[in-house]
Symmetry: C2
């Protein structure tokens, strides 16, 4: 499946979350990642980040999609992305 | 169609972008919005925000989807969202 990850993490923990996210996904923009991933790997990702985040302060949104055939991504303004592999 | 908006905007302009985004979408988390929207309204949104953003500094990512039937959203940590109307 395909996943889009958007996070809002306290500066004290953001570097760790960034590092973990890069192992599983492609970096799109500051706090946005995306990529194809298996359900098993996504579970692993969740376990890793849950160990780091403070549930009172931090937030990670995970969108998952079975089919990205009818989807599109557009960037207005500066393309801050690292890895650009979207469909 | 369904759209997910993620933005990274300089603090000088973020309030304006937030205000415009709220007219068209539901607020999910700090800089994330989503919602059903027509192509015509999305074009209007783009025109409005393009007038505000500094293309050297700011970035708005717009994901659009024809079909959200096989999609899912999950939040780890704090649910910072305002309007929660996801499928």
């Amino acid at each position: 499946m395909f996943a889009i990850i958007v996070y809002d993490i306290n500066v004290d923990r953001v570097a760790k979350i960034l590092k973990i996210s890069r192992k599983y996904f492609n970096w799109v923009q500051n706090s946005v990642f995306e990529g194809e991933i298996t359900e098993a790997k996504l579970e692993k990702y969740k376990i890793e980040v849950k160990k780091i985040i403070n549930t009172e302060e931090d937030s990670i949104i995970i969108y998952t999609f079975r089919d990205m055939k009818y989807s599109h991504r557009e960037t207005l303004g500066k393309d801050k992305g690292g890895d650009n592999i979207f469909l």
